[in-house]
């Protein structure tokens, strides 16, 4: 897909989202969902870059999200670092962690990378809840319950000021998405794709697998860490319950629904998944089963997700005309 088309789809999606407060701005619950959608859209997009474009089966995205959230929370609460600075520091720290996790993955094939990265996810909860986490300021099993909101020029962006906070989140999501768009349409993105399609051939052309794989870990971890940190300041509290499988599975569903490797499908996937999930809420305990069944049907009918389906349709349309 050309970058112009990617940009156009992103523009339409974010454009529609941007005008929604005109209609639902006074319904806090829906505004909350929109903000969370924007946050998940970035996390899912980052996951898409590393898995869909670079072909690295990383299952560590939720872990990086939580690392970013906790890092910023700890900086802000234990060290009184201003929120904006804490978010940037959290992004950099998470990028460093991403590189650290990425290093052993360079020597590993697909499923083993998944094992290592999911191992990071699994070890994070006991680490944050245990003595080390408590010593670092994670709040142990209680979590951190007093994270200050982001304050810019004396104005606090929190759930109490939902519409300004929504637009700040939108700005962050658009910025992150544009960064992803630029990267995947640059030489870096071509290198990611080349390494994914045939690593040996790409290396023979002078593409450094070491450099670009670490780069993709660093970039996606940085963006995920920044968004995780933002989440912490927006919600105002953190707990290790984010590391339960619920969020992990939901993000994976977003990727599948949007189409893996079909950016900006992940953004669409985030909005579709959250909307359908909320629409199914009246089903109560049957919601998860229904959602699971819908995903199975979707995977069977649209193996490349909504974006893959749309691209196929538009290609078929162009051919017929």
């Amino acid at each position: 897909m050309s970058w112009q088309r990617m940009a156009a789809i992103m523009g339409v999606v974010y454009g529609i989202v941007a005008i929604l407060p005109l209609f639902v701005g006074d319904i806090r619950f829906i505004m909350q969902i929109l903000i969370i959608c924007l946050i998940w859209a970035v996390v899912a997009s980052c996951w898409d870059v590393i898995m869909g474009f670079a072909g690295i089966f990383s299952f560590g995205q939720v872990a990086f999200f939580v690392i970013g959230a906790y890092t910023s929370g700890i900086f802000a609460v234990s060290w009184q670092v201003p929120a904006v600075l804490a978010i940037l520091m959290a992004g950099l720290f998470t990028a460093g962690m991403g590189v650290l996790v990425g290093l052993p993955c360079l020597k590993l094939a697909g499923p083993y990378v998944a094992l290592v990265t999911f191992g990071v996810h699994m070890t994070l909860m006991p680490l944050l809840r245990g003595d080390i986490g408590i010593a670092l300021g994670s709040g142990g099993s209680v979590g951190i319950l007093t994270i200050p909101p982001i304050t810019l020029f004396g104005y606090a962006f929190s759930s109490a000021n939902i519409i300004p906070t929504f637009y700040l989140t939108l700005a962050l999501a658009v910025t992150c998405s544009v960064v992803i768009l630029v990267v995947i349409n640059s030489y870096w993105g071509t290198a990611f794709l080349a390494l994914k399609d045939s690593e040996e051939f790409a290396v023979s052309l002078g593409i450094s697998a070491f450099k670009y794989k670490l780069m993709v870990f660093a970039l996606t971890s940085f963006l995920t860490g920044v968004v995780g940190a933002y989440y912490g300041h927006y919600i105002g509290m953190l707990s290790t319950r984010m590391l339960e499988l619920d969020l992990f599975v939901t993000l994976m569903v977003m990727l599948v629904v949007g189409g893996i490797g079909k950016f900006p499908g992940a953004i669409l996937g985030a909005f579709i998944t959250v909307t359908v999930n909320e629409l199914l809420a009246p089903l109560g305990s049957y919601r998860a089963v229904t959602m699971g069944a819908l995903v199975v049907i979707l995977v069977l009918l649209l193996p490349n997700g909504v974006m893959g389906f749309w691209l196929r349709r538009s290609k078929a349309g162009a051919t017929s005309t």
Binding site: R28, F29, P126, R287
Partner: protein, 406 residues
């Protein structure tokens, strides 16, 4: 876009936003409980009590002449944004008149629901939740905890374990607890209590939920031969698997499961094999033989409805709903939240076992009218053997020395 595609979009948006503006001739009551995920079992138990109370109120003509309508919200696994969305959905969008929860976020819920004035009842049993409340009691004056904190429940467990008519063969204890705030709170308190009493905590193990392979820990336990093993895992499967593996080669130890004895799956799965295990239920109504006729009628009705004895949380949430309804009746307006909250705080509620009152931190501390009930499994069923405070044997109950000790 084709016409049918536009139609689909309009229907979707309509479904999403349509319910927000519905006028109601009922009083909506919010119920955020886990309906999916790891905490579904406890969520169901809490809901049984809430539904029973709402059905009773509706059958009696409703509240202030209006029927009550339950609006549920799936708290899933209590991730921060889910807890927050629950508060905004129920209080902000659905404009509920009260919120009745069970486990609700262990402090996160206090922040989320404290933004509103709607009376909020939770069973966090957590000091962290109380600490958040203490930060700003005025702002959080709508938060009412239905059970005492883990620290106090652990002290109650210890008092009863020491009061049992049984001579421990040694002073060695093993404590196993989960790695969440509840487990750590109880584990730490018990460890301190044992040490203070001159006991040796020969092994303290903190395990994650989902631990079902106990071989390594049991090997250590069999070497230690403790007089008492306390497990604090508020989930059924871990307790069941522990006991099944323990009983293959038991040590002469009292097995105390704490709160973990109360999920119905434990006694229903283990049956009479569990005879002898002890545990506790906070804010409980002793059973199956209740302390008075009113309590007995309630238990009989509960058993008739749900075909099993009372699990943890059902009576507590039932009492919470009734306390709120009583406050609303006295105030005369379900939406005068400040007055309802004030009434609850000042007057409490005359429950099955007497007057219950919330303390200065809006916590329903263990008290005679809402005691911690200590059970032993006898004949494959939970039998109340002690209540606390004051720590006393319950009516004509008897403690049975477990068969694996004999």
């Amino acid at each position: 876009m084709k016409r049918d595609q536009w139609l689909a979009v309009i229907v979707t948006i309509g479904l999403m936003f349509g319910s927000a503006g519905m006028a109601a001739d009922t009083i909506p009551v919010g119920v955020p409980l886990a309906m999916t995920g790891a905490y579904t079992g406890s969520g169901d138990d809490y809901f049984k009590g809430i539904k029973m109370a709402i059905d009773e109120l509706n059958a009696a003509g409703g509240l202030l002449g209006k029927q009550l309508e339950i609006i549920r919200y799936d708290s899933k696994e209590f991730a921060p944004e889910v807890v927050m969305q629950g508060a905004d959905y129920l209080c902000g969008q659905k404009k509920v008149a009260s919120v009745h929860a069970g486990w609700a976020g262990w402090g996160q819920d206090v922040r989320a629901y404290g933004k509103y004035e709607v009376p909020f009842f939770a069973d966090d049993g957590s000091q962290a939740a109380v600490d958040v409340y203490k930060e700003n009691p005025e702002q959080y004056s709508n938060i009412f905890q239905l059970t005492d904190v883990g620290i106090e429940q652990a002290k109650s467990m210890f008092r009863v374990l020491m009061a049992l008519p049984y001579e421990y063969p040694n002073k060695k204890a093993v404590i196993i607890n989960t790695d969440d705030s509840w487990g750590v709170e109880v584990g730490d308190t018990l460890e301190a209590s044992f040490k203070e009493k001159g006991w040796q905590v020969a092994k303290r193990e903190t395990v994650p939920y989902g631990t079902n392979e106990w071989g390594a820990i049991l090997t250590r336990i069999r070497r230690i031969k403790p007089a008492l093993i306390h497990i604090e895992i508020p989930s059924a499967q871990e307790n069941i698997t522990f006991f099944r593996q323990f009983i293959k080669k038991p040590t002469p130890s009292i097995i105390s499961l704490g709160w973990g004895i109360t999920p119905r799956e434990v006694v229903e799965n283990l049956g009479t094999a569990a005879d002898g295990i002890v545990g506790e239920m906070p804010t409980g109504l002793p059973g199956p033989k209740a302390p008075n006729a009113a309590g007995q009628a309630w238990i009989d009705k509960f058993v008739g409805l749900y075909k099993h004895q009372i699990p943890a949380g059902s009576w507590a949430t039932y009492t919470g709903v009734m306390a709120w309804a009583n406050a609303v009746k006295n105030v005369g307006d379900a939406y005068n939240f400040k007055a309802v909250n004030k009434y609850l705080k000042e007057n409490g509620y005359e429950g099955h076992q007497g007057l219950i009152k919330w303390d200065a931190d809006n916590v329903l501390r263990a008290q005679a009218a809402a005691p911690v009930v200590h059970y032993q499994v006898q004949g494959g069923e939970l039998m109340a053997i002690y209540t606390d405070p004051p720590t006393k044997a319950y009516q004509d109950s008897t403690f049975i020395v477990p068969r694996w000790i004999k």
